[in-house]
Symmetry: C2
Subunit: 319 residues, 2 copies
């Protein structure tokens, strides 16, 4: 059996005091079954992002510990930073990775929200796939008023759970469920950033291009090349192969090649395996056709010495 | 850490007596750490193929048990069947799957060969990547003389280990190491088998097409469609994306589409992951960029609560 995995990528309103971020990351890492994958702090935004993953139960426990630690240690009344924010634990998204769907992540978000209010007296907004009101699907709509405004106007923007006032020092929290995002950049064989910008405008969803694709054109000064920098917000709708083909096609109109691409951060296996299978129109692909998966499944069946045989591999047929 | 895995696909000269095949498959399945993936018997060829996999040490032990069981139970002096054969355990190839290279599989083949002679008095020929003589790389060259000829002419075709005579009832064994083979078929949107044959002739390696690609054109009577049936004998040279593109391009010359494709049996993960990464010219792809792999690695590091963070995922950059 494939392991059930989800990811949590909470954003905290502290990016300068390493002791605070250490304490939050430590609370996550100390949670049994949780894999701490990344942490980054931005002093200008005065904000940190922690990425962790594991089985749903473990990530659930880790998220609660992290939120509690942030509530304990971050005082928003004394916070400065350019990034919009409503809480010490500002944004807490749950992301399905393997064997878990978006609806289950939304249920986890709702359960965490209930406990954040009951245990920590933290009012909660739900966003994206966890939103309880359509206008709160977009995180921007939940967060843009900010902590200082909400302190005096909470009744005008009531939380989904909790109230009638914010937590005095930790504000509120936005908890959501969303699909995994793939950051993917295509480097053009030109230094002309206007070509990258024209390609980005053509292919992105906001201007009628490919669905679930965000794109901008940038110039990488260190390498002297123009780059189409993309986010794939739902790789089942637009995957890396389609995004690549679109950039390649539009670049060809300018007589320019795609020199190379790069994946930023991590990419889920399914975005590669299933992308290939779909591209070649494979009618019988599923994850259990992957050799290693079959081997792992067989090896984990302790005591079952005779698993069902698989389809015949006609080793010597074609010449 | 990725698990080290190899596969063994031995062919035995018995395809009619299920008790004999059961005994051989049972010897494999009872080997600790071995996953029995498939078994098939062909009564016309009077031949069976067993597919198993696992860590190298486990597969090594399973292969020896299987060969010993075949030597004990199969008497080639009384064998009838249309398929060429030299031994009870006729052909024993080792195939790298993950974290193991072809050279290591060749070393395993050589070690098994030494033990087959010392413990079972079975003369051994090595073929493909395990061949000790260039003319024995091709299995056909090793096997075509057959058991009955070899019984009286072994000195004219001396084994690489053992001799001067065959095992009286079990003959000899061909032990090899080779890359994994992917069986991949493309169904055309036509019933005209001549088009499938023309495409196969154009794209296969033997007529100057894509390297490590075998192809024939066949007609699937039950579905009324023509099919290009392919074996990819080295998917690092020609993978499923390239094979698909070649069929699609050649089919287009006849004004015909590829309706669908199918993978026969199992496909290694790398043939999908790396195929996509290569197709999109990804310059920074490696298996540890795969999210699930990173999670598994982090979760398996018991006690290491603070793994190194990964590259930043710029979540909100493109619009």
């Amino acid at each position: 059996m494939e392991r059930r995995l989800i990811e949590c990528v909470p954003n905290f309103s502290e990016g300068r005091d390493a002791r605070v971020v250490d304490a939050i990351a430590g609370a996550v890492a100390a949670t049994p079954g949780v894999a701490l994958l990344a942490r980054e702090s931005d002093p200008d935004h005065n904000r940190s992002v922690i990425t962790f993953a594991g089985p749903p139960e473990a990530v659930h426990a880790g998220a609660l510990r992290a939120i509690a630690e942030a509530v304990r240690r971050i005082d928003l009344t004394r916070h400065e930073g350019v990034h919009p924010r409503i809480g010490a634990a500002d944004v807490v998204p749950f992301v399905p990775i393997a064997g878990v769907d978006l609806e289950e992540c939304a249920r986890i978000a709702h359960d965490i929200g209930r406990q954040a209010w009951e245990r920590l007296q933290l009012p909660v907004y739900f966003y994206e796939a966890a939103a309880l009101r359509p206008e709160r699907r977009r995180l921007e709509n939940v967060r843009r008023r900010g902590f200082h405004w909400l302190r005096n106007h909470l009744e005008e923007h009531p939380p989904d759970i909790g109230g009638p006032s914010l937590h005095p020092t930790a504000g509120a929290v936005a908890i959501g469920a969303r699909k995994l995002l793939i950051a993917f950049n295509a480097n053009l064989a030109t230094g002309d950033v206007e070509i990258a910008r024209a390609i980005a405008r053509k292919i992105r969803a906001s201007s009628g291009g490919l669905p679930a694709l965000k794109a901008i054109g940038v110039r990488l000064e260190s390498r002297g090349v123009a780059q189409v920098s993309m986010n794939l917000t739902d790789f089942d709708q637009t995957g890396v192969l389609q995004a690549f083909s679109a950039v390649q096609r539009e670049a060809a109109r300018f007589g320019v090649d795609v020199a190379s691409t790069e994946i930023v951060g991590l990419i889920p296996r399914r975005a590669l395996d299933e992308a290939t299978a779909r591209h070649i129109k494979c009618e019988n692909f599923s994850a259990d056709r992957i050799l290693e998966q079959r081997i792992e499944a067989a090896l984990s069946q302790v005591g079952d010495a005779h698993p069902a045989p698989v389809a015949r591999r006609p080793e010597s047929r074609p010449r």
